[in-house]
Symmetry: C2
């Protein structure tokens, strides 16, 4: 890849740092990939943030049409390099080429979806309350409000989605759509992929005639570069997808700043799947096949991976258990994203295996070579689960823990014991579901998304999606990182009192020149 | 007041604690008021939270119509005791009876406004994306989402609004409208007023046939009772209006919990007023009169009090300065809310007086007796202001600091130097405003509400109001504590995937039985 430079981009400039310390590694072979990437200097990081602040003065006032054009240009530019991405990203991540192609398509679709939201313009929630100079005892002033962008946003790339949750992923798309400049911290696990996408993005900013500070891409160690970004007084919000430990340390930094900022971390979820007895009796084998597909999809490296499966010991579990055991036993080994994730999975699986309350029901092929994950199927009882909090921690990889219970009370206790989740799933017949509305009500308080008779992997990018959930699934359960509502994370309402029409943002001008949906004197027009 | 019991209410039960430690004090006379109030025990506090959690199972699922009925019943009950409130609250707060009557009216209007929002129902932002089983490569599932309440909410009463920001104030109204049970921590500065309103609220809960845990009212010291509430694992959000020190210590507790929760504090704002030269030339005297009225309203004890007035030395300041000096010099002394606020104002004003960079231009009547505030008018230069951060801290009381500058650059530097504010105001002629769009753009990034040619005191309760702003004005600049958008603080989106229609909340059922506004497949219907 001759075109890769190994440099951070600070607006339209390349970093002048030259000591390469970050190298992509092919997880399947252990081969170190070229070029190496130099960590950005502190001065360059500060320069990127200052450029972003300068750019915000222009970009924060840009029209939805201008932002839509930028987002579409980014998508177009990414499509132009999709073959290069499909060649490079698998080397860096171990993910197969078809997955990279699908993820590239999703990333571009996501950019275009946010373009349509920005262009349509009603997302700002414009509200107008007209003056009433005759009101007694005091006249009523003219008051108008709408969402405005927060300012420069830091975005952290995720290892497990080198495109859709990385340089031009959901966080970047939603922040740009809202009018916020973005500074991306690349993930060391796919530095070349990040550079390719970063160049596509920088070129789109250039071609759109926007100021260079709208986008920068920084390489560096998470601890120094990432923390320095979140700590920087001119950064006004940040988005992160990654581990619970990493997310919580950044949450703390964001909260402890002299000026605390919104920090959106998606961190940890075990995505419980409850199988009710009617469904188990009706389709145990099919449920086993579905569960197996979901738990091994992407080598189990999805934040929505079903890590916990709750079943009723009073049902006939045999067809389900023998099918899932058979599937896991014959599961081929597969390459994980990087050695850190590979060894964390190995050691987590080992801990579970060594837990006397847990039985390993099945193990897939161990595999030879680097970063090979073997699928593992564990089983424990609800009593053990309720008494050992370690059984509820996320094991990131192709595994699920089957928890058996003897009564509905135990099942509900188990549901109540759960921490916040991205998803919660219930499989049931019509009668099962009707008889377990209380379970659904508990799960609704625990998760951002509740599914019936499906599997949690596969997050639809649409208007109604909520990819979020109470802590520790995310740092801020009021938000979503997927779907068009994500744009609201990077904005706040600003109120304009008694402004002359010509000084109001166009969204709030009396004649409604942008023809957007507004609430006028309490009525949506 | 024979009917006052001096007790906390834990749902429908009275506290059994009997050692009175909290007494209202008439700030004008220093007289201790009866009855005394006993601090709630730890066990009772826990019981209140558990009742709230139990109540949430019912109340969280109640319909908007039921919540509207509750809110209207509360307003009706408060109106029935408005004479008692008008008799008692002035004794506890030093606020005059007409102000208490006006605030009672505002409190009831606010409850009814939230009732109308809950009843209409569209606030939940329902979104429906229909399934497409034929989509390739994977079928599209049916996905729906809407806002759901967070759970039990802790509300802290404010000293300066014994009704509108206290037991049945904005935080309580918006939390109940969203479907969250509320536990109120009474303010020790007006315990009897809190009990009267608390009884009105409890009776409304009883009469509505709702579970007792929907509302509790707790007395106790801020440090123990308030912090224990925010720390309690079953509390899911909190609202606070008060000092920066108090707000920041609770923010830290909320962020450091094993499960961090949304914490909405409104804390500190100096509400800058910029007077541009054209306006100063045109109406210096009128501006002085308006500023004087705003800075002394409620003895300066409003969070929107204009504590900072920025004027251009190159304008003819004489008419403005001589008028405001004359007004402040002849300003009668007035009673502050309590001795703590009175002595904080005295010592803050003394610090400013002793600052060599600051000149005291005028002082009102000093007053005899307890808690008497003298209005003070200070002046300094923009250079001094920019070099001494202490000049930018809030002085809660009837005072403003006039800052003179010599150039537009200095004015903009001053605007840029400001911390987050609830409001920012600009006075200008049409030509002034046109020539200072850059000032307006800076202020928009600093404040929740920007006003032109008005004064910041007087917060309209309406759909478009934003009573919020970047830190330290509030802990969370994305929200408002006044106006109907406040309901969004106590809710989060939940997504329902592939639910049978009968298991969906009615807001999301296909036939739209509640007839609310929804986004269906991307289009608002």
């Amino acid at each position: 890849m001759a075109e890769l430079t190994g440099k951070s981009s600070i607006g339209f400039q390349s970093s002048t740092q030259s000591e390469s310390t970050i190298f992509g590694v092919n997880p399947a072979t252990g081969e170190t990939l070229q070029p190496g990437y130099a960590a950005v200097s502190e001065k360059e990081l500060n320069r990127a943030v200052e450029l972003a602040e300068d750019a915000f003065e222009i970009f924060g006032k840009s029209s939805g049409i201008e932002r839509a054009a930028l987002l579409r240009k980014i998508a177009d530019n990414i499509e132009l390099i999709s073959d290069k991405l499909a060649a490079l990203a698998p080397q860096e991540t171990g993910l197969p080429e078809p997955r990279i192609k699908m993820e590239t398509g999703r990333t571009c679709a996501q950019l275009r979806l946010f373009a349509s939201v920005a262009e349509e313009g009603s997302w700002v929630g414009a509200r107008i309350d007209h003056a009433d100079p005759d009101r007694a005892p005091v006249p009523k002033p003219d008051i108008r409000s709408m969402k405005r962008p927060l300012g420069p946003v830091a975005v952290f790339c995720a290892s497990n989605f080198p495109l859709a949750f990385s340089v031009a992923g959901g966080d970047t798309a939603s922040a740009l759509a809202a009018g916020c400049p973005v500074i991306v911290k690349a993930h060391q696990s796919h530095p070349g992929t990040a550079e390719l996408v970063g160049t596509a993005l920088t070129n789109a900013v250039k071609d759109s005639g926007l100021p260079e500070g709208v986008f920068s891409l920084l390489y560096g160690p998470g601890r120094e570069t990432g923390q320095a970004l979140v700590r920087h007084p001119k950064i006004k919000a940040a988005g992160f997808t990654g581990s619970r430990a990493g997310g919580q340390s950044l949450m703390k930094i964001a909260a402890d700043r002299p000026e605390p900022i919104p920090f959106y971390a998606e961190m940890s979820s075990i995505n419980p799947v409850f199988i009710l007895s009617g469904a188990m009796a009706e389709r145990g084998e099919a449920l086993a096949a579905g569960l197996y597909g979901s738990m091994t999809m992407g080598v189990g490296q999805f934040c929505t991976n079903p890590g916990l499966t709750i079943v009723d010991n009073n049902s006939n579990l045999e067809p389900f258990l023998s099918k899932i055991t058979e599937l896991v036993d014959s599961s081929p080994s597969a390459t994980m994203l990087n050695s850190g994730i590979g060894s964390a999975y190995d050691s987590g699986a080992r801990s579970l295996s060594e837990n006397v309350a847990v039985e390993a029901l099945a193990r897939g092929e161990a595999g030879e070579g680097k970063c090979q994950a073997e699928a593992v199927l564990f089983r424990t009882t609800s009593d053990s689960f309720l008494h050992d909090a370690s059984l509820g921690t996320e094991l990131f990889g192709p595994s699920t823990l089957i928890v058996t219970h003897d009564s509905k009370d135990k099942m509900l206790a188990l549901a109540k014991s759960l921490e916040g989740q991205l998803t919660a799933t219930v499989h049931g017949t019509e009668a099962d579901l009707e008889a377990n509305r209380d379970l659904l009500e508990i799960l609704e308080t625990k998760a951002g998304r509740v599914l019936i008779n499906g599997f949690p992997t596969g997050v639809e990018v649409c208007h109604s999606m909520v990819h979020g959930g109470p802590f520790p699934a995310t740092s801020d359960g009021r938000s979503t990182s997927v779907g068009t509502n994500a744009i609201h994370r990077f904005s706040r309402d600003v109120c304009y009192q008694s402004f002359p029409d010509s000084l109001l943002p166009r969204e709030l001008q009396e004649a409604n020149p942008l023809n957007i949906r507004r609430m006028i004197d309490g009525v949506i027009v």
